[in-house]
């Protein structure tokens, strides 16, 4: 799930500017050719130096094969069938983009290979901002990257009613529908984006970045070359389908795809017309799709793949990888966090005391330590619904309430005070059994273990739990086909607006149908906050109420891992971006022997 996050207002500016400066300084220190790099080989110091770990001097040539764990289903990431994080991972490196977060998840890096100067906000009402493109920025056939590409990329994402494209099937139209116009200067190198009246996007600097719908900019000239007039809505729709059907052999990034299909592998080679500062040294860069977890370790041992950054953390896969010589691996908290939600529409769950008691009986630490305590002893429990533990806005709302502690005595006390009785091994209210309740989640190992443990905790307070896995999480949540659900929210360093999306009455991501007027008031207020600090303050207030209402129990940040053969340098994970390890694929190289 990727809830949209909002960031506010210009006062964020100085922060970003400073961060940018720091990032630039940092990358300058790290060197053009990260030869005189600070980091040591391997992932050991990634916790302290996430932006520079595993760096080293690059040798020329070589080939790397990177793992993607699920099949993309199309070339056009705008489309519902083609649009997935796996498509983005597969295609990263060929589209010019506007920026991304660094691995430390705080620093935002504008793409200074593309821009001559930092993008600037021009006005707030209507909101507009400007990009200035470098003259050197060109597509692989020499066509300059220009405002036309921005226009096409924007229009492809709009919904049909906007009238820009007839036949475009964008899977997320909201960010693009709010744009009024995109104009270019005469030479096409200055691009001005203007939002519609009354629309304000605090996340404007993320427009068309690496995490955007297609991971960057689509070329306008390729449309023309193939007979599509991008000013004609119908023909633009034709271009949309063309992009879906045809493997992109064009490039505005460091690599170019030379061969492939999206089910097996995609072969990339360096783009000769790459205009960026750091050139790729690898001769070939292959992405291989392997969707069976059991196949990764033998393939790695057999030198058929050299690295990957899967989402799922599997104890056995990690042990298998750790046993291989010449492979670095590292586990760290990932971008998403697990939590347990109630379906408030279930009659029994309308009693807040029952909800509180259930949450109190669940021992989150036990679940976490059993699931990955062995491999990752430094796991962090989640005690805040919006901010992770390393965020400056983090406040622990949960621990003091006892929720997630596994304290059965306390849970029983709450229940007894609320009028429930433990009749033998069954909890009853007015003589009727409470439950059984359906606990649902997807079928991966960590979640099944967690559900089995929850089943045992709740059995101690007399509540029967029926475990039902699902292979269609979206459907299950959308239809409220659960009593209790466990799933994850994927996080991003931007947070404003999440609260409204997840907890406001009737909101799209408020699956359990939670409703509290106080929370509604607060989250609406958050959307109009003027500073990030203010927004965080309000969000924390809303969380206080939420925790008392026991609707969501945060569990832990789901750890993820990355592995890479020691024959390569500059490979590292970036949990701030959905493309993860490939975020800097142009900096990769074979290690000097």
């Amino acid at each position: 799930m990727n809830p949209r996050r909002r960031l506010t207002r210009p006062t964020r500016w100085p922060v970003v500017a400073v961060a940018l400066a720091a990032a630039l300084a940092f990358s300058a220190c790290a060197g053009d050719d990260p030869g005189d790099a600070v980091g040591q080989p391997g992932f050991d110091d990634c916790a302290e130096n996430p932006n520079t770990c595993n760096s080293g001097e690059r040798d020329d040539g070589g080939s790397i094969t990177w793992l993607v764990v699920s099949k993309p289903t199309g070339w056009n990431a705008y489309s519902p069938e083609g649009g997935s994080v796996y498509t983005l991972q597969m295609l990263h490196g060929i589209y010019p983009h506007t920026g991304m977060f660094a691995p430390d998840r705080e620093t935002y890096l504008f793409n200074m290979d593309l821009f001559a100067a930092e993008p600037e906000l021009l006005s707030e009402d209507p909101q507009s901002w400007q990009y200035v493109l470098r003259d050197e920025a060109v597509w692989d056939d020499g066509t300059p990257i220009s405002a036309d590409d921005f226009v096409v990329s924007w229009k492809l994402g709009t919904s049909p009613e906007q009238g820009h494209c007839d036949g475009c099937r964008s899977r997320a139209t909201a960010p693009y529908d709010r744009v009024e116009s995109i104009e270019g200067s005469a030479d096409g190198k200055t691009v001005t984006v203007t939002m519609k009246e009354g629309e304000y996007d605090p996340e404007w600097f993320g427009f068309l970045n690496v995490d955007s719908i297609a991971g960057g900019l689509m070329p306008a000239h390729v449309a023309e070359q193939n007979g599509f007039d991008v000013d004609d809505p119908v023909q633009l729709g034709g271009y949309f389908e063309w992009l879906q059907a045809n493997m992109p052999t064009f490039s505005g990034g460091p690599y170019r795809i030379v061969e492939g299909d999206f089910e097996n592998q995609v072969i990339k080679e360096p783009n000769e017309n790459w205009y960026g500062e750091i050139d790729p040294t690898l001769e070939t860069y292959i992405i291989r799709v392997i969707d069976d977890q059991g196949a990764w370790v033998p393939a790695l041992a057999n030198d058929e793949i050299h690295g990957g950054a899967p989402i799922q953390l599997n104890e056995d896969v990690v042990s298998g990888i750790r046993e291989l010589p010449n492979v670095y691996s590292h586990i760290h908290p990932g971008p998403s966090w697990e939590h347990i939600d109630f379906n408030i529409d279930v009659p029994a769950f309308q009693d807040v005391e029952l909800r509180r008691a259930i949450f109190t009986a669940i021992d989150v630490d036990d679940i976490a330590s059993r699931n990955f305590g062995e491999m990752f002893p430094d796991y962090t429990l989640r005690t805040n619904h919006v901010f992770s533990a390393d965020s400056p806005y983090h406040v622990d709302h949960v621990t003091e309430t006892g929720q997630g502690s596994g304290d059965t005595e306390a849970a029983l006390a709450i229940l007894e005070n609320a009028g429930y009785e433990l009749d033998g091994t069954t909890l009853t209210l007015d003589g009727e059994q409470v439950g059984p309740f359906r606990l649902r989640a997807t079928a991966d190992q960590a979640r099944v273990t967690s559900m089995e443990l929850i089943q045992s905790y709740l059995a101690e307070v007399g509540i029967e739990i029926i475990i039902e896995t699902t292979d269609d999480l979206g459907g299950m949540l959308g239809e409220q086909d659960y009593d209790i659900a466990q799933f994850g929210w994927s996080g991003s360093p931007l947070f404003v607006g999440t609260a409204a999306q997840q907890w406001m009455t009737g909101s799209g991501s408020n699956f359990g149908n939670y409703s509290n007027p106080e929370v509604d008031r607060l989250v609406t207020q958050e959307l109009t906050a003027t500073t990030q600090d203010e927004a965080a303050e309000i969000a924390n207030q809303a969380m206080e109420v939420l925790v008392q209402d026991a609707y969501v129990l945060p569990m832990y940040d789901s750890p993820v891992f990355i592995f890479a053969s020691d024959g390569y340098v500059n490979v590292r994970d970036n949990t701030g971006e959905s493309v993860r390890g490939v975020y800097n694929n142009h900096e990769w190289g074979t290690a000097v022997q």
Partner: protein, 308 residues
Amino acid sequence: MADIETRTAGPTLAVAAETINTEQRSQLRLALARFVRHRLAVASLVVLLLVVGFAFIGSMVWPYDHTVTRGVPSSVAPSWDHPFGTTTAGQDVMGQVMRGTQQSLKVALTVAVISTTFGALWGAIAGLYRGWVDNLMMRIVDVILVVPLLVLVTAVAGNVRGGTTWWAVALVIAAFIWTGTSRVVRGVVLSLREQEFVEASRAMGSTDSRIIVRHLIPNAAGPIIVAGTLAVAFAILAEAALSFLGFGIQPPDTSLGLLIETARTAPFTRPWLFYPPGMFIILICLTINFIGDGLRDALDPRQTMVRR
């Protein structure tokens, strides 16, 4: 099969030297005697009974059951406390294997009995009657053969949620695999029906059902028994697939197949999760196979123990 009954010689015949004492022996006792001579079959029967004992009685004796117990440590290798080790969630694997064996045995044996019986009857009837009856019955078999199990399973799993009994799983699996037995039995019957004893039987006025039950099926015992043993093996794995998809035996309840499926990535890193249930599956399959061998020898006098 020859219906031979030995009769005692009448007392009118006086034999000077030893009296030869023969007893009337029924066919059943003959079969039993032959079975007992088959040492491996007997040994397998014993082992199978031990397995059943382990599963049903052991679970009453062993301190841990198959559910999560908080005190149990996570993912430890076999030790004195936990001879088969423990799982990530904190379940004792021995307790799980005991429970799993119970459930798997129930399902597998039910499937074997139902599918083999039904399939054998179906195939025998089709083979005996030939003509349009045969055609129709075999075409129905073809239809079921053509539809892949996974499609059936996904459809079922998509609509029936948790809490289904092992009975339901067994029925679904049996409904899928009886076709194998029917084809094999039909094949045997097609050649058998041309043999003289069938004609003779008819001449004596046997009804068709008598022919089928008393003559054809026993003579097809070999392939039927093989089909039965294969059905057991197949049923265990099929049940695992179904449970994995949400139909049938669900956590916290477990079966051998489910244990194996959950330990999918573990065979080389945490072998105690995978091999104990695996071993029991093999043990069950092998013992049933050898018992089947013994049954076949017992029922078919032409298959003797004489080594060539």
